[in-house]
Symmetry: C2
Subunit: 416 residues, 2 copies
Amino acid sequence: MKHLSILGSTGSIGTQTLDIVNNSPKEFKITGLTANKNIELLKKQIIEFKPEAVAVMDKKSADLLKEKIDIDVYSGIDGIIKIAKLNNSDTVVNALVGSIGVLPTIEAIKNKKNIALANKETLVTAGSIVMNEIKKNNVELMPIDSEHSAIFQCLNGERIEDVSKITITASGGPFRDYDLKKLEFQCLNGERIEDVSKITITASGGPFRDYDLKKLEKVTVKDALNHPTWKMGNKITIDSATLMNKGFEVIETHWLYGIDYEKIKVVVHPQSIIHSLVEFKDTSVIAQLGFPNMKIPIQYALSHPKRFISNSKQLDLMEIKNLTFEKPDFAGFPCLKYAYDSGKIGGTMPAVLNAANEIAVYAFLENKIRFLDIPKIIKKMINGHRTIKNPDLKQILDVDKKIKEETKKIIENKDY
Amino acid sequence: MKHLSILGSTGSIGTQTLDIVNNSPKEFKITGLTANKNIELLKKQIIEFKPEAVAVMDKKSADLLKEKIDIDVYSGIDGIIKIAKLNNSDTVVNALVGSIGVLPTIEAIKNKKNIALANKETLVTAGSIVMNEIKKNNVELMPIDSEHSAIFQCLNGERIEDVSKITITASGGPFRDYDLKKLEFQCLNGERIEDVSKITITASGGPFRDYDLKKLEKVTVKDALNHPTWKMGNKITIDSATLMNKGFEVIETHWLYGIDYEKIKVVVHPQSIIHSLVEFKDTSVIAQLGFPNMKIPIQYALSHPKRFISNSKQLDLMEIKNLTFEKPDFAGFPCLKYAYDSGKIGGTMPAVLNAANEIAVYAFLENKIRFLDIPKIIKKMINGHRTIKNPDLKQILDVDKKIKEETKKIIENKDY
């Protein structure tokens, strides 16, 4: 039985995670939950899942909740970190949105919790730090994203022939708890990460796949929230529409699997049936497929190394009939290019990419800027930043804070 | 270094296997070769690869060859078996065509050779016997077919949670040399064969995918030899055109992976890019992809558990643009149905299916019967046979011989 704390339990990933817990009550126990300020839903979750403690980011909402229930209620980022560290949990599901997820993740890792990570800004902002802590504390990092779950499954049973390469593969994912003896056995079975010649991430292309720049100019918030294949939270839906989400996934793939950016490709695949592909050096390609349904990767992140039965719809290729693939449009969707660029530059640059994007996306959601202003603003912030090589956590968090403030300023002043 | 004997070295799979040996001279040494009667090509292969002995099925050709070279030249089926048993080889590549492959395979296994199996009639005719010998002699059976290679790769690193199930998974394929301790470790990684809910084999549909019965009536040998995606030998190309080849693959999949026929599906996929798919109980699907190129599965069967670099064309989905899927046409191509039926009946029935098919295909290639006579003849032979349950090898070989004679007779008498 796994003891879970879910950070962001009232959001899209959080509620789906609780559905999965509900479906397998013998496999999971909920230890802690956190919400931003939706205390009505959180209260219902408390009654149903009986966590020992919860946290609410918004102080006032936390105080209101305290009056209604008699378990520990913490507040603010310190409260979320407390839930991330709870003694009785072994696994933390990070379903937070934004770089606010960095510190709770790191504190959870330091307290030997396994991480099921949906919060992509964590690896984008502080990939090197997080992967280092994962390795140091010998815990497991399971991706919740459908793409990274696909890659993880495609690499299942992979082979580490050269033990000097453990650094790559022990850095989270499939090999985290293998000692040398087990690694030797691994050599009898499956693939080597060194044999991987290419990883291809599929992108639905979002709601504006066929739009030219003129049409993109006029995109409204409502248009952008209407994703063709994936039902998700607001922030990530906008990131999908700009293709920044795909850019984040490229950076995450780099950190999760230790793969050079040159070997990570993005292909637009509107049906969202193939979730990712891994090519090996003999040109053989392994892919993971399924109907678009976040519950599958969430469940797999929690059930691994087992699989649990799912009542989700089974893939029937004869019903689907047609899978199509296109080149991504880097000109209309420059965020994808900026993500590759900042990933390759490294250091604090991906943190800048994420911080500027976070502020710009919320400004768009509040109708303060237009859709095509998002990449403009990000470009300006990236161009104005000189990356700090090998930053420590404090430097990353300082950059995150500073860039967010500066981005707010240039949006207020319309200076982009 | 692997020491290979190749049975059928002058055919399509045989010559491609030698190309692979040529590309990785440090990995492979050729111990023995066999041919049907193409001694010109065999002589060239002898000079280039320096085997210690060869066999030629045709006695006259063998005698002719003996005069030209000074290594051991054996002849007939006994000669081929001698090559299959050569002391210095560790792996036998069976690229023979027809049920003639059964005995050499069994003799090779009994002599502790690992088997790389392209000859699909072996498992169709004598699946239970072969798998039993594989298990008893603790040798490896690697499939060379692109579909079974795909399934094998999709199952890579799979998990055996319940040790009482070893019978299934030890019966060749990924788990052949795992002792209990290793099996326990396996539980930490990958999938369980019990978790597999479905295996889907893709079929190009052959050259007559869109033909109705009227058009199928008029199909010529030349039409049938013109396969749209795979370049192969004559017998298997006709089997592909009738979809019997796909039926054989269904039966092989049953034996290779111990999967019920109900869980094995066939989908027509004209581009031949996805080679097979495995669905797990959480509805997640793993697939293996690549351009149609037999060298990849041949090389993988020989390089496993490693992968070698291949100079084959790399898959580019943006270039392919479109993958399509259709239901197979069981009415126009009843051979596929007959294969499922005889597989489910079991016993000697698949041997009947194969023997009747073998004779009918060669009769078609010699213009003695028409294309649509092939399934008619097979149906007649199946309907006239009463299956022997749990047959031993002798019973299977007797049925093979008897059915072939009877099939020849009904073709001569046009009695079908």
